[in-house]
Subunit: 227 residues, 2 copies
Amino acid sequence: MEYKLLLVEDDASLGYLLSEYLKMKKFSIVWVKNGNNALKILEEHQFDLCILDVMMPDMDGFNLAENINQKNSSIPFLFLTARSLKIDVLKGFSLGAVDYIRKPIDEEELVVRLNNLLYILAKKNTSQKELYKIGLYTYNPLDFELCFENENWQLTSRESELLVYLLKNKNHICKHKDILTTIWGKNDYFNRKSLNVFVTRLRKLLKNDPTIKIVNIHNQGFKLINK
Amino acid sequence: MEYKLLLVEDDASLGYLLSEYLKMKKFSIVWVKNGNNALKILEEHQFDLCILDVMMPDMDGFNLAENINQKNSSIPFLFLTARSLKIDVLKGFSLGAVDYIRKPIDEEELVVRLNNLLYILAKKNTSQKELYKIGLYTYNPLDFELCFENENWQLTSRESELLVYLLKNKNHICKHKDILTTIWGKNDYFNRKSLNVFVTRLRKLLKNDPTIKIVNIHNQGFKLINK
DNA sequence: AATATCATTAACTTTTTATTAATCTTTTTT
DNA sequence: AAAAAAGATTAATAAAAAGTTAATGATATT
């Protein structure tokens, strides 16, 4: 998914550099050069985050933030500015900024911080669910729940660990040694026997979809196949 | 509401200063001096955020973060460290940190940043004041009243807390640890026994509708099922 | 002070589950 | 092709976890 950003920056060269760099990093970005244009475009378009410069002629960044708040818009914004005094930082946050980033900042670090903030902000709204799909089955590793059409099995923790390991390496070989050391903690004769028992169980659970197979590669390990 | 923080900082004087200052600022704070103690206390108590130093003997902050992630815990953490190199910042975020704060930092700014992050992270825990519906039952969390057709039971506060917790996570696993740390405040042997007693009671209360089940997931927790 | 309420602790039973064992099948090596 | 090794399957076992009912002790109410 592509995040949509609004960059408000009066400085032409910095604005250009930043917007080009962020485009390169797969953000969708609109760059405007003053507060009024920002307010106008916020009326018309939806953004995930606004990046506000503080020092701008006419309407400065703090002022713009106040205007955004008054419009009762829920768009998150942050300040990206050379104004690095503590009093400015405090003012920025008190206006409801989600971050206050001091210039100059390494572009790579900026991208990481932006992605992090956007991730945090998104998580707040949608309770993320991690689901694996395998053939006609789905597996929910948080609830240990394996589903096939209307049926529903509650797996145990070991079953779950092994299934997740195989799913993560779908269509690739999982060596005995690697499975045993990561899940069982120890690669020995008895744990290997145990692994066999669990493989049998998973095969039984997955047998409703004949396109799914857990195959053994002699002396190497197992492979969960579903192409 | 008071936020609960876990501070992991090996430096005695800095740890003391920070924890005292944050207490003064109305945070509830637990300070531990190494990663192992942090992991131990995270098993038993619930926190809103962890503040991790990076440079610590034995287990460093990055290492600790990896351990937290492996425990599949959803506790947010940030790094507060003198390690200010870009590579460290990127590593910090890649481990899932919600922020990376460089020392030294003005305490006032730190508090503002903490409050901001906690605000962003706070799930809209819209404390439901309406009725919960579960199968043929309704539950009114304000006056602790559980209804089934004409019948009516008055729950106790613990019963209510547990039922509400399960209802909020209907059809999803509620881990022992999470139930105990949020409702009982501590995850230990005796409280776990207590939890069992209350689960039995709720099952008895809900038995009139056979489509409702509180199932145990061995070694994981409980799940209130009603699909 | 006596009573009532309720969470916790205790004592005991039942269930769950990873492992080990036993037995059979397949694959590889000689 | 026979022997050996590896894997598959089903069943048995033992330890840990969960369930249940009752007793206890703390707190609030009358």
